[in-house]
Chain length 653, copies 2
């Protein structure tokens, strides 16, 4: 049910009817594009000829964007089918698909070149990047086939470049921003990293002097801390806490005082340096966020001023935009907006009810459009709508009162508790296993009763995550609902995930070329004689094979990703046993990129999201919108979105 305006004409009194000449139509179209750009923070400067505008609209169409992402996903997914493959496909097939993808990216780029001025196109590094990536991929394909044809060994090295497409497409704005903030932090990180490595080298030197002459041995009987580079590597791994306390035990067993050495080492290199890395990343992240927001607000304002100038009319001294043009504009920009919502936004903009607004009020339009106002329909429980007499009968009312009663909630809390106890009990007992069905039935009953009693909207709330509140009631943690919003926000902003994907993909590609086939996994039931050492004699009696880590290999893209995930959590590099020791560089590099930079970015993001949720106030614009809603007594229950500026800032990343 739409909110009915008591007197629609009330808003039309001041309307100045303007006849629409063809040129005006075009102006309106162009203004709509500007507003839309401002709304979605697009910074593209496009040609303003009618044809270019049409192309530009097509370029920004969600279908085209979807296609681009689809082709990128297909291109990246090729790693599943290419050698070393999870599901092998013939090489000609994967090559064909890749060429199709590359042409799609080419077409998209040509489209972009038609939309924006040509000199701008060639100045933009991201376009150059895409061209280079496409060309290099083609060159790689040709070289690969040529080498294959004459029977030589060939490597598809251009696969490393594929994730860069995700960064360089027009839609990769967020990702580029995140990477730029990382780049800005790099000089400082490098400085501290050098200091950190210096500290590791000095401690290693000290360790060499302390231990080399003592002839200590590890539990495997190997010499302990005798080669300088070995010590450096071991102590570097200790920073990741992966080999604690093993690396310390031989020294500690020989004397208690050596524990002091490791204690100081861990304090400085694990705790202090890690915190400083976090501080640097966080500091830069915040600084950069502010800069970006400032710049975005500028671009947004500029776009809106352009839109204003297209629609402005003289009214006495002032230049204004009339409600009529404003209405047309909003309908163009957001065709699905309801009349009530649109009138509400107008009444916020035109606070003094003049029938027209100046530049200051006009530029707020994208922010107003971005605010989510949900119009609550005066809902009733479904049964009440269908069979009112039955629903309002005395037994039905009793049921409703029961469900609304506190005791109902407590009863179900108790049931859940009993269920929890039953779950912890013996699984094998048939009787206990069957109680599960009873509990399931009870929960079903609860849902049905609640659906019967409450309005559907109360039951199914807007954010899907809110439904979890139902479960949380059980543990009485209503205070943390805000926290759930933080987590929700983290999930909605996919940038962190995309950065991880880009880095993982690159390392997976390189890792697969370097380490594929070195380690074999044999099925649990297999009785192959090589099973005990993962199919590689070098791993005989190694702890890697003993722990049955054979499936942690680079033999295909999926196991590579899982291995890299494990490396993210805990550094664990049995690979150096089966290849050259220099392979350790690969693992150390991965650790530096992931743990020192990317994870800290992630933590910084969570910290910032948390602080925004817990400390910021509502923006002026938002409160004026809320005030207006109250003033008008529209019966509209607003779910006004979070703090505008902070939300804007976070959505950037």
């Amino acid at each position: 049910m739409e909110v009915a305006w008591s007197d629609e004409s009330h808003f039309l009194i001041h309307h100045v009817r303007v006849r629409h000449l063809p040129g005006e139509h075009m102006n309106l179209d162009l203004a709509a594009v500007y507003v839309s750009d401002a709304q979605y923070n697009r910074k593209i400067v496009f040609d303003t000829s009618p044809q270019a505008i049409r192309l530009y609209l097509l370029y920004n169409h969600w279908g085209m964007q979807f296609l681009v992402y689809a082709f990128i996903v297909i291109d990246l997914a090729l790693a599943i089918f290419e050698d070393p493959a999870v599901i092998p496909l013939p090489i000609w097939a994967t090559t064909m698909i890749e060429i199709v993808c590359l042409s799609a990216f080419g077409f998209r780029l040509v489209h972009y070149a038609k939309v924006i001025p040509l000199e701008r196109f060639w100045k933009d590094p991201k376009n150059i990047c895409i061209i280079v990536i496409i060309l290099l991929s083609l060159v790689d394909i040709i070289i690969y086939w040529l080498l294959k044809a004459i029977g030589l060994f060939a490597v598809r090295w251009s696969r490393v470049l594929r994730p860069l497409l995700l960064v360089n497409i027009t839609e990769g704005r967020q990702l580029r921003r995140a990477l730029r903030s990382i780049r800005n932090a790099l000089p400082q990180i490098l400085c501290v990293f050098l200091l950190f490595m210096f500290s590791v080298f000095m401690f290693s030197l000290l360790a060499l002097k302390l231990f080399v002459k003592r002839g200590l041995t590890t539990t495997d009987g190997d010499a302990y801390f005798t080669s300088y580079l070995e010590i450096v590597f071991d102590l570097y791994v200790l920073v990741t806490t992966a080999n604690s306390p093993d690396v310390m035990m031989p020294a500690y067993n020989s004397s208690v005082f050596f524990a002091l050495f490791f204690f100081i080492y861990i304090l400085i290199n694990t705790y202090i340096f890690n915190s400083v890395f976090l501080a640097i990343v966080y500091n830069n992240y915040k600084k950069y966020l502010k800069q970006e927001v400032r710049q975005l607000v500028k671009v947004k304002r500029h776009k809106m001023v352009q839109a204003f100038e297209l629609l402005q009319e003289k009214k006495g001294e002032e230049t204004v935009v009339t409600q009529a043009s404003w209405n047309q504009l909003v309908r163009l920009v957001q065709p699905d907006i309801s009349n009530a919502h649109r009138e509400l936004l107008w009444s916020v903009s035109d606070n003094s009810k003049k029938g027209c607004i100046g530049k200051g009020a006009f530029v707020q339009l994208p922010d107003l459009l971005n605010m989510q106002v949900t119009i609550e329909k005066a809902e009733q429980p479904p049964l009440q709508t269908l069979l009112p007499p039955l629903y309002l009968s005395i037994p039905s009312r009793l049921v409703c009162r029961m469900v609304r009663h506190r005791l109902f909630v407590y009863t179900y809390d108790l049931i859940t508790l009993v269920n929890a106890v039953f779950i912890c009990l013996d699984e094998e007992n048939l009787l206990i296993a069957n109680t599960e069905w009873v509990f399931l039935a009870l929960y079903l009953l609860e849902i049905l009763l609640k659906l019967y009693t409450f309005k559907p909207r109360t039951f199914f709330s807007r954010h899907k995550f809110w439904n979890c509140r139902q479960i949380l009631d059980i543990v009485f943690i209503l205070r943390i609902v805000r926290l759930i919003r933080v987590v929700d926000r983290i999930k909605r902003s996919g940038v962190q995930g995309r950065i991880f994907s880009v880095v993982y993909y690159v390392f997976a590609m390189v890792g697969m070329e370097l380490f594929k086939g070195k380690i074999h996994f044999f099925d649990v039931k297999s009785t192959h004689p090589d099973k005990a050492f993962c199919g590689n004699p070098l791993l005989k009696n190694s702890s890697f094979a003993k722990h049955n880590y054979c499936k942690n290999n680079f033999n295909n893209v999926i196991s590579s990703f899982i291995l890299l995930l494990e490396l993210t959590v805990v550094n664990q590099c049995g690979f150096t046993a089966v290849t050259h020791v220099s392979a350790r560089i690969f693992f150390v590099l991965f650790h530096i990129v992931i743990v020192i930079i990317i994870i800290n970015i992630f933590i910084a993001f969570v910290l910032e999201a948390f602080f925004v949720e817990y400390t910021m106030e509502k923006s002026d614009l938002q409160s004026s919108l809320e005030k207006k809603i109250k003033e008008l007594e529209l019966g509209i229950k607003q779910y006004v979105s979070d703090n505008f500026a902070a939300r804007l800032a976070l959505n950037l990343f």
Copy 2:
């Protein structure tokens, strides 16, 4: 050489000579106490009778404070000599020492009771705490001796209370503040922790349903993921990353898709929750820091206003403090202040040279006294002072020019690099081993040449850490000198370390009572038959014994501390194998307290120290001091300390 004032009488023109009546003397003394309290942020409200003031001065005397700390250290160190002992002493000896310590604390408390009003004494919870600790310790000693006398088993349970003395003595202000900030964060932490545990329980339930019927086994052949509580514990440990990837391997070996389960689990419970815990602690830490600073500034101002009212004189309309009283006051508060320094501070306070200052300027005194102004003596290289003709001769000048030259620095950088390469080379080679002496000689030469050329102060700078700059020159990282100040600050503020000590001590005491003697360490050369399983048959074939972790035990206070340190870095709990499974609660508790709370406080502290160093500006007062120094052209090179407000805030913790 003191800076000579051109005309000392210049400052004396406005002096109003005041004859000192006995009452005035007393006022001055009292005012000095107030200023001193304001300077060191003491909040004690004391009696103002002359006798009480004298007692109060004695109470704050550094010697008394030193004695208190000495007795606390002795009391805490008793754990080394008490059973289970590192160095066993007879029980009567340790008991005697403990009684001496307890009486010292008692005397200190009586002293405090004489200083402050009695009703305040009994209202203060920290006094009650100390009394209770002393009484409980005495009761414990008596019970222990009685039980021993009749031959029963006895536990010295009051040892757990000892570190609480460190918190409750008057000097433990910083520690109390830190603990209060933790307490303030607790409700929020608890909420999130409940949510976290809820998530762990739900994931465990999912894991049970997923794996229980598959009959998977670990590498040791044990059943994998069959008991609910086992799963909960394993997944909890996975949050600490200690058992990654072992806990995942059986599932991953059986199917790739199970890796997804662990991936989602680690993402949510390790990364997101850990970041949220950090965010909560950091947020509360900042909020609390602000509150504390605000309150401290208020107390400080109040003390200074009291001092002002004691010294004020009428001068026309205004009440002022004359330079004469001010001088006497400053001399009383800081007897070792130089005349030049004192005159400088006065000229900052009395900016308009009236010869007296109002309340506004007077209350700044403690801040001015806290600013470090180092008067640089016009130093010369020592040889120049001793033998000027020789030092100024042409060859000597040539040497000096050489040392000052850039090439000299570069040469030594090169030497260091060569040295680094040599260090990495084979240790066994005698020739290479002997080159070390050459390098040592070269470094010694460098130091001597620099001592010859530069002023001593240039060489030995004030902060001991600054000397490291010499080393850092080598790696060209001058930009991070600020960072060193951050680390320096972390080191100077010992609160973090003291919090760690308190928590470690409590857990070590409990751990020793619970687990002492369960595991035995045999010397490397020992051939005892029980060596293979750490002297406990329950550990036969366990990975704990295989890795030779036997020295990680609770058999004395030192090995307990080292074990707790290891637990801080990586959770590693073989103890549950030799005692009841419920011992796991001990380890989980320790993990919650240390990793979730204390380490996050530490990180928050580093973050804040970093931000203060990198973002804050100098305070007004500080810049006016610097301006004055420039104005007066005193030839005083100031090492004005860091931002006052921020420094104040950080020194609180």
